[in-house]
Every structure is written in structure tokens, then in C-alpha cells.
């Protein structure tokens, strides 16, 4: 005890220690500046420059943008497609969300799990699955249709290579966004709001119409906007479906401007409206969800009301069954079947089962191993760096330890408004010039992935930090631990699960990226997603399915392993804050 009480506050204890705050801040500010601001700067800069040996200022790129009918058409088609996707997603997802959240539908947990799992599916893989199912000549449905009715080889029932086909294929990928938002909102509408309506004399339908639906309307709108945004900025599915159908949407049009002869200036100009639309849509979404007093968050009371379906039960099951089959089950079955049979049209029997595609992909096709390694290495690097940067940035922002820290947060969130294809153009312009010879290396892909994934990583880490009460850290300080020691002993263990979750999230997001990758990849830096796209051009669907299954298996394995890691037990985590 003498050891302690005799400790006096000598002047030498007033040493400041090495203060790492400012160097860290400077480093992060520079890093985020390079990742976020620099590419946007070059994007805007080059959109005003002529191409060629002696570039000079010009407005010609913008003039071409608004006068070229092909360009305008691709924008119009993209917007039309995106709106159609948004509406279709909302129409599919809202009734499903209601059935799952508010009725006695059997198997609700499974439905939720299936829909959540479909988040993991890369959208371009879904598009390829619909090629297998519904291409006019080789599509499974059309083959069966023809052989059943004995029709000629050029007749078909469904055609995925069409505008409606494209809308359908993308909506299958985007409806989970609406579903999740609406289902969560319905979970949170406190039942006493509905009880209040009933006690005042409102019948079941009136209550639904006047109370429940208005309460979840913001979630519906917000989800629909996300679906629209996803559709508008997506590259993979349109490239796979719209190009054979003979039309361009804006993302594929921008990509085509990099084919010979390249027109990077025009591509930059074409990317800027897309960037602006994204920013507007995100602001709108934020405004809708952010209106306080209208949100359905914070209801604490009771379990939500459950409606008994009664005789409508079978209709509901049929509806959900059809939706899930079309969007998730059939595409997966198609992928698996194609991976194990010789050609798409083969019937499934012991004779047609083959590992030919697996052998080809794993041992014969030279690009696979390089692509698998690149994908894995980039995934791990991106996930690690993004998680680390997000961790430090969110620490600085939530603990307000430095005056300018919140601008780091703004920078880390900003890329959410940069569509992948736009970032691809911007990075190409930034790093394919003689000054930075990064084009053709995997580093330019690393930069792209870091920028794309930063907002997601940052959002996860900062909400994790908000869950750790600052007093937990202060308690460590006052008992005698330095700032770093406190971080290590107290903050780090409390954040471990969130860090692992964020890492997985970023990893899974990275290995399926295609929109930015497609502009930045070269023969030496192929990734699995690009190989899949290339193979699709050459029509080798069996090999694609094998690669797709490998990609999915890695994603699921990472998520599974991360959830099983012996991190923190449950019981001691209940007492936060």
C-alpha cells in the first residue's frame, strides 16, 4: 500500500509522452484525400480537356454528351430501367416483408435467411443464371417449351435478352434491399400505436391503411430509392443482358468509350451526370429516413401484431414460394446444374454428369489460378486496410479527440456517392498517365476497392464505437492506464466482434466487384469477376458456373468461419453502456 500512497505527483510524471494524434490525423487526411478527392478532381479536369498530344480546355465533351443521340438514349434507357426496377422491387418486396413480419406465415425465419443470403450473390452471377434459364435459344425454359410442344428451333417462350428481361434480372438482385428495410420497419412499429387506433374504433383495414402503412412508407421509399440507385449504377447485369439484346445503358456506354478508339474525355463527361444523380438520390433517401418523429425507430413496446392469414395462408405461401423460386432457388439450381453437366440443354442423369468444367477451370484454363490468387489477395488486403483505417477514423471521430476529425468521417463516407463505373473512369484518368504508372498493376485495383468499401467499413466501425460508452475508456484512464493501454485492454476487446464483421463484409464486397474493375483490369491483373465476364463473352457457361460457385463458396466460408471464431462469449456482452 505504501507503494501507492507514496506516489506523488512529481513533475516528471507530467511528461506528455509521444503524442501520435496529429501524425495519425495527417496521414489519414492525406490517405483519404488521395482515395476520394484526387480521382474526382482528375475526373472533372479531364472532362474539360481534349484528348491527344496537346490537351487543352474544351467543352466539346459535354456538347457531345447532350447532342449524341446514342448517349442520350443510353441515359434514357438507364433511367427507365432503374425506375422500372425500383417499382418492381417495391411491389415484390413490400407484400413479402409484411407477410414475414406481421402474419402467421410458416417458415418466416427461413424466408428471411434466404433473402439475406441472396445479398451475397454477385448480381452478374444472377444475370448469367437467367441466361442459362431464359436465353431465347439455349435457355432451359425455352428448350423444355419447344420439346414439349414440338415447335421449331427459333420459337421461344421467354427472352431474357430484352428490356423487361433486364429489369427482371436486376430486380431479383435489388428487391432484398427493400425487403430488409420494410421488414425491419414493420418489426419496429410499436404495437401500441396500432392498439391506439383500434381502441378509437379503427377496424383492421383502417388501422393498416391509416397507421401501419404510413409508418413504413419512409422505409418503402428509401428501399426503392436504393434499388433504383443500384440498378442505375450497375455494370455487370446490363453488360451481360443488354448488349446481346442490342442496347446500351449508361454504364455499358461509358465502358464502350474505352474500347478502341478510347474517348476518356467523353467518358469523364458522361460519368458526371451519373455522379450527380447518385448524390441527389442518396440525399433524398437520407431526407426520407432522417425525418424525426416519422421514423419507426425507438418503439420499445411489445411484440408486433400478428395477423392470422386463415384461408389466405396457401395463397400467401404460393406467392412467397414463386418469388423465392424465381429470384433465388432457380438461379442457384441453374448454376449448379450447368457446372456439372456437359451443355446447358443436357437432361440431368448419370450419363450427363461431368466434372469437365471443374477440370477445365481448375487445371487447364491458365487464367484461373492467377485470377483466384489476385482476387483472394486483393480481398484480404482491402478488407484489412479498410477495417484498420475505418477503425482509426471512427475512433478519432466518435471520441472527438481532434478538432478536424469529423471531416475525416465525411471523407470516409463520401465514396458511397461514387458509382463503381465512375470511380473506374476517375482512377483510370488519375493513374494511367505517365506520372503514376499504376494502370496494369493490382495496386490500382486495391485503390479502387479501398475507396469503394470505405463507407461500408466506416459505417460499421463508427456504430460499433458508439456502442462503447466513452466512460468505459475514461475509467481505464483514471485508474492509471495510458490512452494506448486503454485502447488495447478495453476498447479493442469490446470491438473485436464488430471488427471481424466489418472485415468479412468488406471482403465479400470486394471479391464480387465488377463495375470499377472492368475498366482497370489488364491481362496480368485479372480477377475472378472479370474472368467470369470474359468467359460469358465466349459463351462458356459451364466454366462460369464453376467459378461462380467457387466465389460463393469462399464468401459463405468467410462469413461462416468469422461467426464461429472463438471471440467473445455472449453473457458478458450484455452490460454495455
Amino acid at each position: 500500500m505504501a507503494v501507492i500512497t507514496d506516489t506523488t505527483l512529481n513533475d516528471d510524471r507530467r511528461r506528455k509522452g509521444v503524442d501520435l494524434s496529429w501524425p495519425t490525423f495527417g496521414f489519414l487526411a492525406a490517405l483519404l484525400g488521395v482515395l476520394v478527392i484526387l480521382p474526382l478532381f482528375w475526373l472533372i479536369w479531364y472532362s474539360f480537356r481534349t484528348s491527344g498530344r496537346r490537351p487543352e480546355f474544351t467543352l466539346q465533351n459535354y456538347v457531345s454528351l447532350v447532342t449524341d443521340p446514342a448517349m442520350l438514349r443510353s441515359y434514357a434507357l438507364a433511367i427507365g430501367m432503374a425506375l422500372a426496377v425500383g417499382i418492381l422491387s417495391c411491389l415484390i418486396a413490400t407484400p413479402m416483408a409484411w407477410l414475414v413480419a406481421r402474419t402467421d406465415l410458416p417458415g418466416k425465419r427461413w424466408i428471411r435467411m434466404l433473402v439475406t443470403a441472396s445479398f451475397v450473390t454477385p448480381p452478374f452471377l444472377g444475370a448469367i443464371a437467367y441466361e442459362i434459364i431464359a436465353a431465347p435459344n439455349s435457355g432451359l425454359v425455352n428448350i423444355i417449351y419447344r420439346s414439349a410442344l414440338g415447335l421449331s428451333a427459333d420459337s421461344y417462350l421467354v427472352n431474357i435478352y430484352s428490356f423487361p428481361g433486364l429489369v427482371f434480372a436486376i430486380a431479383c438482385f435489388t428487391f432484398p434491399f427493400v425487403f430488409t428495410l420494410v421488414a425491419n420497419a414493420l418489426d419496429r412499429v410499436p404495437s401500441d400505436l396500432e392498439d391506439a387506433s383500434s381502441i378509437l374504433g379503427g377496424g383492421a383495414m383502417t388501422t393498416l391503411r391509416k397507421v401501419t402503412i404510413p409508418m413504413v412508407l419512409p422505409a418503402m421509399l428509401a428501399g426503392t430509392l436504393i434499388a433504383i440507385l443500384q440498378a442505375l449504377t450497375m455494370f455487370g447485369s446490363p453488360a451481360i443482358i443488354a448488349l446481346p439484346a442490342g442496347f446500351h445503358v449508361i454504364t455499358t456506354k461509358i465502358w464502350s468509350l474505352f474500347q478502341f478508339p478510347p474517348k476518356p474525355g467523353l467518358a469523364a463527361a458522361a460519368a458526371i451526370p451519373l455522379l450527380l444523380i447518385t448524390i441527389v438520390l442518396l440525399r433524398a433517401q437520407k431526407a426520407i429516413l432522417g425525418r424525426r418523429g416519422y421514423t419507426v425507430l425507438g418503439g420499445k413496446s411489445g411484440t408486433p401484431r400478428i395477423t392470422e392469414l386463415g384461408r389466405w395462408k396457401w395463397a400467401a405461401i404460393a406467392f412467397v414460394g414463386v418469388i423465392l423460386s424465381l429470384t433465388i432457388i432457380l438461379p442457384y439450381l441453374a448454376l449448379v446444374k450447368t457446372a456439372f453437366t456437359g451443355t446447358i440443354g443436357d437432361a440431368i442423369s448419370f450419363d450427363t454428369l461431368t466434372l469437365r468444367h471443374w477440370k477445365f477451370v481448375l487445371f487447364e484454363f491458365s487464367a484461373t489460378q492467377l485470377a483466384l490468387r489476385n482476387t483472394f489477395v486483393l480481398g484480404v488486403m482491402t478488407a484489412t486496410i479498410v477495417t484498420a483505417v475505418a477503425l482509426v477514423v471512427s475512433y478519432l471521430v466518435t471520441r472527438k479527440s481532434l478538432p478536424g476529425a469529423r471531416y475525416l468521417g465525411v471523407l470516409a463516407t463520401a465514396p458511397v456517392a461514387i458509382p463503381g463505373i465512375v470511380l473506374g473512369v476517375a482512377l483510370f484518368l488519375s493513374y494511367a498517365n505517365p506520372m503514376f504508372q499504376l494502370y496494369g498493376t493490382i495496386w490500382i485495383l486495391l485503390i479502387a476497392f479501398m475507396t469503394i468499401e470505405l463507407p461500408a467499413g466506416y459505417q460499421q466501425m463508427s456504430s460499433a464505437f458508439q456502442g462503447v460508452h466513452p466512460e468505459l475508456e475514461e475509467a481505464g484512464r483514471i485508474l492509471g492506464a495510458s490512452r494506448l493501454k486503454t485502447l488495447w485492454d478495453i476498447t479493442a476487446p469490446l470491438l473485436r466482434t464488430s471488427v471481424v464483421a466489418a472485415w468479412c463484409f468488406v471482403f465479400v464486397g470486394t471479391i464480387r466487384e465488377l463495375s470499377a474493375t472492368i475498366l482497370l483490369t489488364t491481362a496480368n491483373t485479372k480477377l475472378v469477376s472479370v474472368i467470369i465476364y470474359d468467359l460469358n463473352e465466349s459463351g462458356d457457361l459451364g466454366a462460369i458456373c464453376v467459378l461462380g460457385i467457387i466465389l460463393l463458396a469462399i464468401s459463405f466460408a468467410v462469413v461462416f468461419v468469422a461467426n464461429r471464431l472463438p471471440v467473445l462469449g455472449g453473457s458478458q456482452m450484455n452490460a454495455r453502456g
Binding site: I4, T5, T7, R13, R14, L472, E474, I478, P493, Q572
Partner: protein, 355 residues
């Protein structure tokens, strides 16, 4: 020289002045309560003492050494203080034992010494049986005691408490008040305790410091603060009171506009302009007839409402000019609303307040 000294201490957040220059001296072993409404600067003062926030002016000295000034701040870990937080701030990933042992391990004590001292403090806070539990498995009161044990085990030079009882339910709060006082009597740490609850301050403190708007209104013993308030704010904040405003009369007399003259046996009357008198609710004597003995310190009024509270009756009486006075009377003194009643303000219970 006092052990803990605050001299001209100031703190602002941007344009907002949270602490506007306070002076305070705390003797070794004393338990001081910083008491005031929310936003009065009491928590900021505590965090300044702890070293979580740097000062913008003035000094904090512990044992004569400056620990905070405009120019330098000893970090919290260099102060050998400990603190009990409003949220308890128990680390959810450590057991009770690990939570309590943390500060000792930082001090690199040998393992058997750590175990001995943790066991000792757990026994004295009646937590021995819970040593291997996690905080999430404890009740609010148990968590509070772990928080106390964790703070006390390192034998701090100064113990800081930030509204430690505000998260407990009423019964437990009462019990913990006495527990904190008992532990203080046992260990005699110099303690600074922040609360907005005056009865908490009355039970625990040697010295109550009433704060308002970033300044100290009054510092004194619980009795000083209650019986001899110096400002209207203190009189109102501690215990509740009637404030009657008037002008200075002869000597210690305050004259109200309606003719009531109040002779005050204590306090200071403002030399000119408005001045005030504080009379506690239970010090007013009610009667049906005019009290015979004096011309001053008595007035008639109309009962506005009257509530039966079992042990006494709570009256609200309106004076002629509309001013209302709250008074407590014995249960058998029952006058219905609307009727006239006489009030006597005993001079020895009237406290003159100059501000």
C-alpha cells in the same frame, strides 16, 4: 494548505463558458459535494479535476503541485485519482475480479498482493460471492458496488464520483447513500462528489458547494447551506422555501408593498433597491385569528388549496397582492379553500437575502 485547490478555474467550449472561474479548497479526507441543477458546470468541474478536459484558465493543485493550468495538463492516468461514473463503466468483457484488479495490475503489484487486496475490498463491499461473475450478470446495486470497489482498491489520493446514484431506483439509492458515507468514514479518501439531488448531498457531504451557471453560489456545511443560505438561488434550491420580496426598512426589517413588515434575525438586507426574505414552508405558523403578540411578521391571506398529507396539511395561501405562500400546518388545523387564514413569520426563522 488545503489538499485539493481550485484557483480561478475556467473552462469554455467555444463561446459557451461552462466554468467561469471558481475557487475552492478541499482539506485532506473531506467529502465535498458539488451540487447544482443540470448545466451548472459541476460535471465539467469534476472532469477538470480528473484531467479529462484541459482548463482554459486558473489552476488545479493537488498537495501543492499544479496538475492543471492553462498551459499544461497532467493526463488522468498520471494523477492517482479514481472515479465512479454515472454509467458505472464496468468493463463487460472482464469479471468482477478482473475489473477490480485492473488498477492494481497497472501498478505492477505482485499477483498475491493483487489477490489479497481485491479480496479485501470485495469483502468490505460485500461482493466476495460475485467475484467470478460478469457485470452483465449483476443487478444495478451490485454493479454500483463493483464500481466503488474498483475505485477504492487502488487507494487513490482523490476519489471522484459523477452522479453515482442517478441510475438506481429510489430504495437502493437511499441505501447506497449511507453505504458511500460508511465507506468514506472507513477509508477517509479526499472525495469530490457531483450530484443534482440535494438530499444525497445532505446525507453524504462534509462540505456542500452549490453551483449555478458556472459559478459557486455558496460553500458550507449542510447546516450552513440549509439554515443560512446567502442567496435566493441557494435558499430555493436546498429544501424549498418562500421568497418574499420588499424594500429595506429600519435595521433588519424588510417592507413589502402590501404593508407587511418582516423582521429578520439573520442574513443581510440589501442596502437599497429590492431585497428578499426566505421563510421555509414548515416555519410559517398558521392560525384562524390574528396572532396577538405583534404588529409585524404577520399577514392575513386566502386559502387557495389545502391538501391532507397524513402527517401534516400542505397549504397554499394567497396574500392581498396575489403573491402566494406555501405553508405546512398540523393535521388538526383544517381550513377549507376560499376562507381567510392568518400567517405568522417568526423573526428567528426569517432569513434576509441581499441577492
Amino acid at each position: 494548505m488545503a489538499f485539493l485547490e481550485l484557483a480561478g478555474l475556467r473552462k469554455n467550449y467555444g463561446a459557451f463558458q461552462a466554468v467561469k472561474g471558481i475557487d475552492l479548497a478541499v482539506e485532506k479526507g473531506q467529502l465535498v459535494c458539488l451540487l447544482g441543477p443540470s448545466g451548472c458546470g459541476k460535471t465539467t468541474t469534476l472532469r477538470l479535476i480528473a484531467g479529462f478536459v484541459p482548463a482554459n484558465g486558473g489552476e488545479i493543485r493537488v498537495g501543492g503541485k499544479v496538475v492543471s493550468s492553462e498551459h499544461s495538463t497532467v493526463p488522468p492516468e498520471g494523477r492517482n485519482m479514481s472515479m465512479i461514473f454515472q454509467s458505472y463503466a464496468l468493463w463487460p468483457h472482464m469479471t468482477v475480479f478482473q475489473n477490480v484488479a485492473y488498477g492494481l495490475k497497472l501498478r505492477k503489484l505482485p499477483a498475491d498482493e493483487v489477490r489479497r487486496r481485491v479480496d479485501e475490498i470485495l469483502a468490505s463491499t460485500r461482493l466476495s460471492a460475485l467475484a467470478e461473475r460478469y457485470p452483465g450478470e449483476l443487478s444495478g446495486g451490485q454493479q454500483q458496488r463493483v464500481s466503488l470497489a474498483r475505485a477504492l482498491v487502488i487507494k487513490p489520493e482523490i476519489l471522484l464520483l459523477d452522479e453515482p446514484l442517478s441510475n438506481l431506483d429510489a430504495n437502493l439509492r437511499e441505501e447506497m447513500r449511507f453505504e458511500i458515507r460508511r465507506l468514506h468514514d472507513e477509508f477517509r479518501y479526499t472525495t469530490v462528489y457531483v450530484t443534482h439531488d440535494q438530499s444525497e448531498a445532505m446525507t453524504t457531504a462534509d462540505l456542500i458547494v452549490v453551483m449555478n451557471d458556472g459559478l459557486i453560489e455558496q460553500a458550507g456545511s449542510p447546516e450552513d447551506i440549509y439554515a443560512r443560505p446567502e442567496t435566493e438561488f441557494v435558499a430555493r434550491f436546498i429544501g424549498g422555501t418562500n421568497i418574499l420580496k420588499g424594500r429595506r426598512g429600519d435595521g433588519q426589517t424588510v417592507l413589502r408593498d402590501d404593508g407587511l413588515a418582516l423582521v429578520c434575525r439573520s442574513g443581510t438586507v440589501a442596502p437599497d433597491g429590492q431585497t428578499a426574505v426566505s421563510v421555509r414552508h414548515h416555519d410559517i405558523v398558521l392560525s384562524k385569528d390574528r396572532p396577538g403578540d405583534s404588529g409585524s411578521n404577520a399577514a392575513a391571506g386566502t386559502v387557495v388549496r389545502q391538501i391532507y398529507l397524513g402527517s401534516h396539511r400542505d397549504y397554499l395561501v394567497s396574500l392581498k397582492d396575489g403573491e402566494t405562500v406555501r405553508a405546512l400546518a398540523p393535521v388538526d388545523f383544517a381550513v377549507p379553500a376560499g376562507q381567510e387564514v392568518w400567517m405568522r413569520f417568526p423573526p428567528e426563522r426569517c432569513r434576509a437575502l441581499s441577492r
